[in-house]
Amino acid sequence: MKKEDELIIRYLDQNLSEEEVQKLDQSLRENSVLRKKFYDQVNVGTALEEEFCSRLPEEKVISFKRKSSSVTLLAFAASFIIAVGIIGYSFSNTKESIATLASNENAAWESSLPTLEGSELRAGLMTLKSGVATIRFFIRC
C-alpha cells in the first residue's frame, strides 16, 4: 500500500497534519489514478454511512413574517422547503417517522400530517401558513 493511499483514508478520518493535506492535495491534482482511488474510498464511505449511521436529531427552525407583500413569496418558499425536506427524507424510509414537530408558535398549518406539538411526522407535505414552527428532523450521523 502506497503512502498516498494511507493519506486518503486518514484525510477522510480527518486525521492529517497541514503538511500531509498539502501533500495529498498535490498528489491528487497530479495523479488521476490516485483520484480514482479517492472517489472509490469516498463512495464506499457514503454507502457505509447509509448502512451504519444511527439516527440523530437535528433541529431546523423555519419561520417567516407577515404583512409585507414581498414576504408572501418568502412565506410560500418557507413552506415549500418543508415539503421538499420531508419528501426528500422519504427516500430513506416512507413508513417510519422522519421528524418531530417540536414546537408551534401561533402556527397555522395546512397539512395532512399531524400538527400538534410533539407529533411525529412521516414523509408528506406541510404548509405553514403563518407563525413559527420548529421541526426536528431525524438524520443519520
Binding site: M1, D5, E6, I8, I9, R10, Y11, L12, D13, Q14, N15, L16, S17, E18, V21, L24, D25, L28, R29, R35, K37, F38, Y39, D40, Q41, V42, N43, V44, G45, T46, A47, L48, E49, E50, E51, F52, C53, E58, K60, F76, A77, F80, I81, A83, V84, G85, I87, G88, S90, F91, I139, R140, C141
Partner: protein, 191 residues
C-alpha cells in the same frame, strides 16, 4: 391605459396559476434528483454535517433560481452546477475560518468536474455496495467499519481493539474499503 387595466388582472391570474404549476414541477424534479445531488455533494464534502448544510443551501438556491432553468431536461446538469458552486463556497468559508484542513479549490474543482461525469456510475456502485458487497465481508471487517461510524469511537482505541498499530489499522480499513469498491464495480458492470 384601458388596455393596461384589462391586461393586469389577466396577467395576475396566469402568474398565480403558473406559480402553482411551477411548485409541482420543482418538487417532482427536485425529489427525482435529490439523492444524486446529495451523493455528488457528499463525495466532495467529506463531513456528513457539512454536506447536510450545503444541501440545504442548494435546495433554497435551486428554488429561488428555478425560473432560470431553460428546460426540465436540464435540471440535473443545472442542479449539479449549483451544487459545485456551493461546495466551493463551503470550501472557501472553511479555509477563511481556518476551522479545518481541506483540499485546495483547484483540486476540488478538478474532482467536481470528474465526479460530475462519473456520477451515475458511482451511484450504481454505491447501490451495489449496499445490496451485494457488504454481505460478503467477514464479521471483524464489518465490525471495524461500523465502529468507525460510532461517534464515541476513536482510531487509536479501535486499532488496539483489533490488535493493530494505528498505521496498520488505517491500511486494513483502506484495503477493506477498496475491496468493497472493486466488488461494486464488478456488480455494477454486470447489471
Amino acid at each position: 391605459l384601458v388596455c393596461g387595466e384589462l391586461r393586469k388582472p389577466f396577467y395576475t391570474l396566469t402568474t398565480l396559476e403558473s406559480e402553482e404549476e411551477k411548485n409541482h414541477r420543482f418538487l417532482s424534479l427536485f425529489t427525482a434528483n435529490e439523492s444524486s445531488i446529495h451523493a455528488y455533494v457528499r463525495r466532495l464534502v467529506y463531513r456528513r454535517e457539512d454536506a447536510s448544510d450545503v444541501m440545504q443551501k442548494i435546495a433554497i438556491i435551486l428554488w429561488k433560481k428555478f425560473d432560470q432553468l431553460q428546460s426540465d431536461d436540464d435540471f440535473r446538469k443545472w442542479s449539479f452546477g449549483v451544487a459545485r458552486f456551493e461546495v466551493l463556497a463551503w470550501r472557501r468559508d472553511l479555509a477563511r475560518e481556518k476551522e479545518r484542513l481541506v483540499l485546495s479549490t483547484e483540486t476540488i474543482e478538478l474532482m467536481a468536474e470528474e465526479l460530475d461525469r462519473n456520477a451515475e456510475q458511482l451511484d450504481l456502485e454505491k447501490e451495489a455496495i449496499l445490496q451485494h458487497c457488504l454481505g460478503k465481508l467477514k464479521k471483524d471487517q464489518r465490525s471495524a467499519l461500523q465502529d468507525m461510524y460510532d461517534d464515541e469511537s476513536n482510531t487509536p482505541a479501535l486499532a488496539q481493539k483489533f490488535g493493530k498499530s494505528i498505521t496498520g489499522f488505517y491500511q486494513w480499513i483502506y484495503r477493506i474499503r477498496q475491496r468493497l469498491a472493486e466488488c461494486a464495480k464488478q456488480v455494477a458492470d454486470a447489471t
